[in-house]
């Protein structure tokens, strides 16, 4: 495959230089009927190329896609995305066809006459109103879903977790038994108090600092994001979740995990994707990959931006409770 491309490029360069030498040929610089014919047909050829590429990408790159949403809120994102994607797919196929087919069909000939056709209010009304109507649907569903995700006010007994970012590391803090986070500020950063928690705050005593996020399946989680230095963005692609971490303010995002990590690992899309990845890794002699939920940094934050990640584990309530009870409280750690 690669060799083919090298040859392709070499040929293209060769042809270029051959063409450059021909530039001194003073032939007519304006398109002739023959040019119109050749270029018109090339447009038709290009249409075939474009269609082939679009279909190839749609079919064979499907395996690359993220698996279905692992959060309950994300289900609507997937549905809205599918609706939007089908819609733009249809319009794309149609518009490219019209554009390139017309370019071919009406390629110029000396004896032809163009049609003097300057305006049609009817046609223009059609293609103003049609997109408008379609947009009403998309905007309506989109806004409903946006509100559905971003409105965290009615969550019942959510699990509160602080996600803390810095160059180039994530940390997390659970709110503990009182489910209230203790105050935090960069001024309190000292020694092992790396997240700058105010230890004089009562709410802070039972908080638990961890290096790996565990979530119970089926319970709403509200993340509070902080950053101590530059902008970061907490991106959890499998949950359709992302929010920037902004120094000087607390941002938030919430979702309800739908599948445990174990359940995800046996889900057909994930199995297929993992197999494809492991085939590649085996060829390179690397360890096999096992699916895990992940938190990545998705806002340019410095030289090692590309390495900033944290593992997320989703488990059944019971296992989660066991894990969280084993974590020491801040009062125990920071004296």
């Amino acid at each position: 495959m690669l060799a083919l491309f090298y040859i392709f490029i070499a040929v293209a360069i060769g042809v270029s230089f051959w063409q450059i030498t021909r530039i001194l040929n003073f032939r007519t610089a304006i398109a002739t009927d023959k040019d119109n014919d050749v270029q018109g047909k090339l447009f038709l050829g290009f249409l075939a190329f474009l269609y082939a590429m679009m279909i190839y990408c749609l079919i064979f790159m499907n395996v690359l896609m993220l698996p279905e949403s692992a959060s309950i809120e994300g289900e609507h994102d997937d549905r809205l995305f599918n609706i939007t994607f089908i819609l733009i797919g249809v319009v794309q196929f149609l518009m490219q066809f019209l554009l390139f087919y017309f370019s071919f069909k009406y390629r110029g000939k000396k004896e032809n006459k163009a049609l003097f056709y300057a305006d049609s209010h009817k046609l223009e009304a059609i293609w103003t109103i049609t997109p408008a109507v379609v947009l009403v649907v998309l905007i309506g569903y989109g806004l409903w879903q946006w509100n559905n995700i971003m409105d965290l006010s009615d969550a019942e007994d959510p699990l509160i977790i602080e996600v803390y970012s810095k160059q180039f590391q994530w940390e997390a803090r659970y709110a503990g038994d009182d489910n209230a986070l203790g105050r935090g500020n960069v001024n309190y950063i000292k020694g092992i108090n790396t997240m700058g928690v105010d230890m004089t705050d009562v709410n802070a005593q039972d908080d638990k600092q961890v290096t790996e996020i565990h979530l119970p399946k089926g319970r709403k989680v509200i993340f509070k994001f902080r950053s101590q230095d530059v902008l970061h963005s907490a991106y959890m692609p499998h949950f359709r979740a992302q929010m920037n971490c902004v120094p000087g303010m607390v941002t938030e995002f919430g979702f309800t995990p739908k599948f445990t990590t174990e359940e995800m690992r046996v889900q057909s899309e994930v199995v297929e994707k993992t197999a494809a990845i492991n085939k590649i890794r085996k060829e390179k002699g690397e360890d096999p990959y096992v699916f895990d939920f992940i938190l990545l940094c998705n806002k340019i934050c410095g030289a090692s931006h590309y390495g900033m990640q944290m593992k997320i584990v989703v488990e059944e309530e019971e296992a989660f409770n066991k894990w969280i009870s084993q974590q020491p409280t801040l009062a125990e750690v920071i004296k």
């Binding site: 007519t28 939007t84 490219q96 009406y106 006459k113 946006w146 699916f291 806002k299 934050c301």
Partner: protein
Amino acid sequence: MSEHHHKETFVTKYIFSQDHKMISKQFLITGIFMGVIGVFMSMLFRLQIAWPEKSFTIIEAFLGPHQNDGIMNPDMYLALVTIHGTIMVFFVLTAGLSGTFSNLLIPLQIGARDMASGFLNMISYWLFFISSIVMVVSLFVEAGPASAGWTIYPPLSALPQAIPGSGLGMTLWLVSMAIFIASSLIGSLNYIVTIFNLRTKGMKMTRMPLTMWAFFITAIIGVVSFPVLLSAALLLIFDRSFGTSFYLSDIFISGEVLHYQGGSPVLFEHLFWFLGHPEVYIVLLPALGITSEIIATNSRKPIFGYRAMIGSIMAIAFLSTIVWGHHMFISGMNPFLGSVFTFTTLLIAIPSAVKAFNYVTTLWKGNLQMNPAMLFSIGLVSTFVTGGLTGLVLGDSALDINVHDTYFVVAHFHLVMGVSAILGMFAGIYHWFPKMYGRMMNKTLGYWHFWITLISAYGVFFPMHFIGLAGLPRRYYTNTNFPMFDDVADINVVMTLFAILGGVAQLLFLANFFISIYRGKKAEQNPWRSNTLEWTTPVEHIHGNWPGKIPEVHRWAYDYSKVDDNGDYIHGEDFVLQTVPLKDGEDPS
């Protein structure tokens, strides 16, 4: 005025020229020079993306202290991405595109002797030149050029402790951009005043070619939005150099708490995108204007829906100033604001759809003359549609959450504004080259240039959507730290190969351009048999554009293939210059 020719020295003719035609060429050549740098940088970082941390002699040769044995440093990767974006958006597609064609065409197409102020026009170019020099110089500072992304979000761009490029490199970036903005504002004001005041007799606003409308509206949105970027930059300079806290608060870095209190990076994002979004249309509208003109001329048909086209340019321009928040859905701003911006953003789809449909209808039943400029224009419509449609995904806040800052965004904006605007710029160069240099560019080379460019543009940016949908964040030096992205590695290689192919194809253009200046076939006065006024000027450039009186205009710019009741051309040919009076009984269009 044009009767007497005053003596010109080399300096007044070629360097400190106040003639709009010369200034336009200066803009173009500087833009091409910057474009070569910008495109070359993209080749370098595409090498790193396709073959992470592999040694390349070309990297060793060009990146000096910012590489180790031919492997670029992560800092330098970010610097390349940053400067590539800055150069392409501002120096090539704003100054290079708008500067070139607004200067060349505004006086010629509205029938004016020159710009309203030739002197300010000269200043505008020279400020652009200085800002280009400063930007290029910033590439050579020891700690590297600005590397916080072309959007230079603080605190990253404010703190040299956070990334080395935010030291002197960032200072020079800000200085360069401040000068650039001054240049752009002076230019835009000049364009607006010229179009308002210097139209020739009979050139009503509703008779202007769509290029004029596009440049006019572009200049207005430039004047509205660029000053906001200037103030954003000034406040950032204050934060960086004078210890103020406009954008910074509660920062702990390199083991110490900084003194900043009460600022917010989100404020910067608002100010930046208040320009940043209209900037997309500052880049795109001139390209669409150029395309409208070229498609009509080469289809030998009037542009379909002239008034609807003007209306949609205005609608796009208006909406573009109230949608900036769609870059910030997940910045931490109030979700209600996100709803408002989703609504306004998706509305842009309507005027954009009108434009796309009108282009296609213009082709319908035309007599298409496949000159290179026409091919590039058709290519523009194609990439504009492909790239524009994915805007429906990104503009929808709920969907944006999961594709924000992934390669899906990169694919979207490169197609819809990058590739489209570049294709429009090429279309303009091929079309108006005879007007600029009095010679023709080589057609065959133009064809090759077009096809390789279009195929490689799609080859790079179409698959890119899908790796974005796989969740791959942009601006990663390498994604080898994430096994979940191992399966996109091959696609990255293919994309890089297409990128190199596309980059190399531009050599065809450069050769064609520079050789044709000296050796091209001599141009006729109206080679494309076009209606507009610029083709009534003599091929050889003269001060004041027209010998004798300025022509008077009697009709709109699109009377192509106008026939009488018997089906014969009313004026004997399939085009009618705007200067030709209406015949008895001829309908004004």
